[in-house]
Each structure stands twice: as structure tokens, then as C-alpha cells.
Amino acid sequence: MWNVAFAELRKLRRPTLFLGTMGAVVFFSALFSSLLFLLIDSPDGNSDRGRTVSREVLGLATGGVQGFSSVGGFLGIIALCVFAAQTAQEYTYGTLRNLLIRQPGRLRILVGKFIAMKLFALVMIILSAVISISASVILAPRAKVSTDLWFGADGRHALFTSFINIVISVIGFGTIGMVLGLLLRSPISAISFGVLWLLIIENLLVAVKNSLQNWMPGAQLSAIASGGVPRGMSTGIEYSHALLVGGIYVAIGAGIASFLFTRRDVSN
């Protein structure tokens, strides 16, 4: 299992993938956090879908991680793409047979890959936290937002809570990506389906029937990332509900994908 994880890390650290992904994380983390402060007086709002996060809210202990929380759902989408691509490409390149010849324990391969990708996601989240919080600290004085409460015990607690929530959410999204990769066996199909579902289909369904947001997998994971309030939803999802329903989705998906992966013939 650890051999698989170490081998997978060799693949994940290649410059194009690593620097490309981290570059996107830096860009969007800086963008999300900057907009919170730069557009604080804008009549069109400074958060997603025209919402306004006021000076008073940003001045609370949680204000320093507001940008980081906002970018959490987006980090989830990135994780979904990376996990899906890294899993499905084994089928399209035909490299799965090499993996299985060198490591016949199929579940070990899955777990090893998952560990490596979790580490990759962790680096992504830490980087995002550093960039988001740095941008917030730099831009707060310009936006006349007080940072006094950010560095107290409550501020540290808010950072810790946000970090854990985003880790859970990102790994949830990543697991869904991995499941799609295993089921669809094509990076393009897995990523397209995942992104299309999370960004378009879920929102359309919720627009038609608002109560559906309580049962959509993407909405639950976004709710976890933001600590109980999903991005772009008019009403909130309770954190514990999101954790339970999101967890059930991830567990069922992972169970089905693992079962198929360990039983399915590898004929390509």
C-alpha cells in the first residue's frame, strides 16, 4: 500500500501537474480573498452571487478565513478533476495492467493511490490557506477592516475549524472524482460528468425544487466546506446533515467502485 502511495507521489509531483494545479490554487485563492476586500463597498456585492460580506462580518474572528472558506468549494472541484484524471488515466493509457502485475492487491492499489492524492490535496489546501489569509491580511487595512480579532484564540479556532471542514469537503469531492474515474474509465468523461453535475445539474435541480439541496452530493460537500452554509444557496444546510448525507454518498460510491475494481477483468 505504501509502495503504491510513494510511487503515485512520483507521478503527482511532475512539474506540469504539480505546478499547474498549485498555480490555479494560488490564483483562485488570491482572487476569492481579494474580491472580498476590494469590492467591499460595491453595490453588486463582494461574494458569490452578489452576496455582500460586510466590514463588520469580516472584522469578526472568522473574518480572516472568510476568503479561505469561500474558495473551499472550488478546491473541491480541482480535487475532483485531479482524482478523476489520475484514476481514469490508468485505463486510457493501459497502465493499469502494469500496476496490477507489480501490485496484485487491487484494494492496496486503490488505498495507496487515495493516500497519495489525499497528500496532494492537503498541500493544495495548505497553500490555499496561506495565500487566502495572506491576501486578507494585506488587503484588510485598505478596506478598513479591523484584524484585531483574527489573531486571537477565536481566530485560531476559526482557522482550525475551516481547515478541517475544507479538508473533509475536498477529500469528499476527490473521492467522488476517483469513483467517477473508476466507473467511467476515461478522464474526460469522468471530469465532464463530475463538473457538469456539480456546477450545472445540481443548481438546475435546486432551482426547480429548492428542498433538493438537502440531498444533492455537491451541495452537502460545499456546505461542509463553508461550515454549514452552502455556496450560492439561498437557504442553508445544517452542518451535521451535510456531513451525514455527504458521508453516505461518498461511502456508497467508494464501496461500489472498490467492489467493481477488485472484481472487474482488466482487458484493456
Binding site: 509502495n3 493509457y93 502485475i101 507489480r102 496484485p104 477483468d265
Partner: protein
């Protein structure tokens, strides 16, 4: 670790896809330390058999052992097996060396072996190039290097000479022979039958998923009826020569601009005389044992 004097032993091994039997009750053995050629027309079940032996697909029926271990437990023998199946497959964005490092880490083999293997297969100076820039021959060489990573007791190669130039083919032949001399068992499929004839000690021949021959290469060749190859100065005489042979009770076919007659070598004298009487001057009259290719066509009904 189980002791056995066979590298591969399968009994009634079968694989069914829907209504189609891809491999049907295959039974054969490959002794340790030999090079065994694995031949059969396209779609005869060679790759499916290899996949079953490597634990990639589950047999529908039958049993098998690799290096004394049941194929139901590939984890017990795969660390001692090197394989390249259905062509090389690597990550295009990684270099050849990084790809091998990946597999070495995965299998728990020393990374230090990688550079030596790259040199052994003639890629020593191209190890740092991305795999996607490799020619087909270079990809094939990298696949062979990957198969050699575990320092295998059994090497299973599916069409290893695909895409190689004549020099590369000769190098692979020498490599396989030297590995066999060092005690490695080699199970190799190839459509280059002349190559297999040169290096194989054993042979397993498949046709439509069934084993039609298994045994020593020499036994197969000696069991075949000798043939007499005759050419005329005038190509239009070939049909007459065929008629002469068939009238004398010998099976004859026209192939590659010559008449191939199944018959004993001493009948060649009589054949020459009959041709002369028919006004035909022969430009070639050669009694010989059929080569593997001719035997293959005869046994598999191909061509």
C-alpha cells in the same frame, strides 16, 4: 514457496465471454529454464491466456500454476514474474527512467537497477526523454526493461519484437537466450515465427482458443512430413508440376512461386524425372523439413 519443475502449468484453463470461448480447456506445461514460444493466429486466445496467468482476468474454468503457485493467488508469484502484455504501456508525460522508477517503487525493487536496465535494452542515453517522444521500437525496449525489473524467474512477453528493426530483433533474441542460459524461464508470443523457431525450446500452439500442440520444438518439427520445393524456369509450369505430384498421390500446393509437395525426400528423383518427361526444366528442387511457419499454417489452417 512451492517447489515445482514447471514454470507454467495449466489444466483445462478456459475463458468465456458471453457465448464465445476465448480460451477452451487449454492444457500445457512450460518447463523451468526454457524459452517457450506461444503462437497462434490473431484472436486465438494468446493474450487472454497470458492475462489469466497474470491475474488480470479471472478464468471461467480450469486451474493453473505459475512457479508452483496457483493462479488464484497472483500475489504469491508475481514478484518473481516479469511481463509485458499487449504492448508497452507507460505514462506519456514521464520520462522512460521516471516510468521505471515508478514501477520499481511500486514493486519494491531497488531504484538503482533502473539505469542498468535502460542500458541493457539500449536506452541508456534516452532515459531522460519523455515517453511520448519515443519511437515504437524504443517503447518496446522500455517495456522489456520494465519486465526485467524484478530480476524475474519467469518472463512473459507478448509480441516483444513489434516495431523493432532487424538489429533490435536480433538484440532481443540474444537477450532472451542469455536470460534463459542464466536460468530464467521465458514465455514469449510472437507473430515472427522464424524468430521463435530460432530461440524456442518449447512451443505452445493455439487455434481458436484450443491448444493444438504443446511440446518440444524439435519434436514438432520432426513430426512433420518433409516437403519438396520445386521451381520451374517457366512460372506457367507450376500447375502442371502440382498435377504431377497429386497424380503420384502427394499433396501439393503452389506458394510463393514454387510448388510445395508433401512427400519423402527420395521421391524428388522421381518427381524430377516426371517433370522432365513433361517437358519442364526445373530451376530448383529442394527436399526439406517444413519450417515453423509452414508447420503453423498447416496446423492452424491459416493462409
Amino acid at each position: 514457496m512451492a517447489m515445482s519443475n514447471t514454470a507454467i502449468s495449466v489444466t483445462d484453463l478456459s475463458k468465456k465471454y458471453g457465448d464465445r470461448m476465448a480460451v477452451s480447456h487449454a492444457t500445457f506445461e512450460v518447463p523451468l529454464g526454457t524459452i517457450c514460444g506461444f503462437v497462434g493466429p490473431n484472436g486465438s486466445g494468446k493474450t487472454t491466456t497470458m492475462r489469466m496467468l497474470l491475474g488480470l482476468i479471472t478464468p471461467t474454468g480450469g486451474t493453473g500454476e505459475i512457479l508452483g503457485e496457483s493462479i488464484k493467488h497472483p500475489e504469491k508469484y508475481l514478484p518473481r514474474v516479469g511481463a509485458m502484455i499487449e504492448g508497452p504501456a507507460f505514462y506519456p508525460a514521464l520520462s522512460g527512467k521516471e516510468n521505471l522508477n515508478y514501477l520499481a517503487t511500486l514493486g519494491g525493487f531497488p531504484i538503482e537497477r533502473v539505469q542498468g536496465l535502460l542500458e541493457q535494452v539500449g536506452l541508456g542515453d534516452r532515459g531522460k526523454s519523455k515517453y511520448k517522444t519515443y519511437s515504437l521500437g524504443m517503447k518496446q525496449r522500455l517495456g522489456i526493461a520494465a519486465a526485467l525489473l524484478p530480476n524475474p524467474q519467469l518472463l512473459m512477453l507478448d509480441e516483444p519484437t513489434n516495431g523493432l528493426d532487424p538489429e533490435g530483433i536480433q538484440e532481443v533474441r540474444a537477450l532472451l537466450r542469455s536470460l534463459a542460459n542464466d536460468g530464467t524461464s521465458v514465455f514469449v508470443s510472437s507473430h515472427l515465427l522464424s524468430e521463435l523457431e530460432l530461440i524456442s525450446d518449447y512451443l505452445v500452439m493455439l487455434r481458436k482458443g484450443e491448444v493444438v500442440f504443446t511440446g518440444k520444438m524439435t519434436d514438432l518439427m520432426l513430426s512433420q512430413q518433409p516437403i519438396i520445393i520445386a521451381k520451374s524456369t517457366n512460372a506457367s509450369d507450376l500447375e502442371t508440376l502440382q498435377t504431377i505430384a497429386e497424380t503420384a498421390g502427394h499433396h501439393a500446393v503452389i506458394r510463393d512461386g514454387a510448388v510445395h509437395v508433401a512427400g519423402p525426400a527420395d521421391w524428388a528423383v522421381e518427381f524430377n524425372r516426371a517433370a522432365f518427361d513433361a517437358g519442364i526444366t526445373l530451376s530448383q528442387l529442394t527436399p526439406q523439413l517444413p519450417n515453423l511457419e509452414e508447420t503453423f499454417f498447416e496446423m492452424t489452417g491459416e493462409k
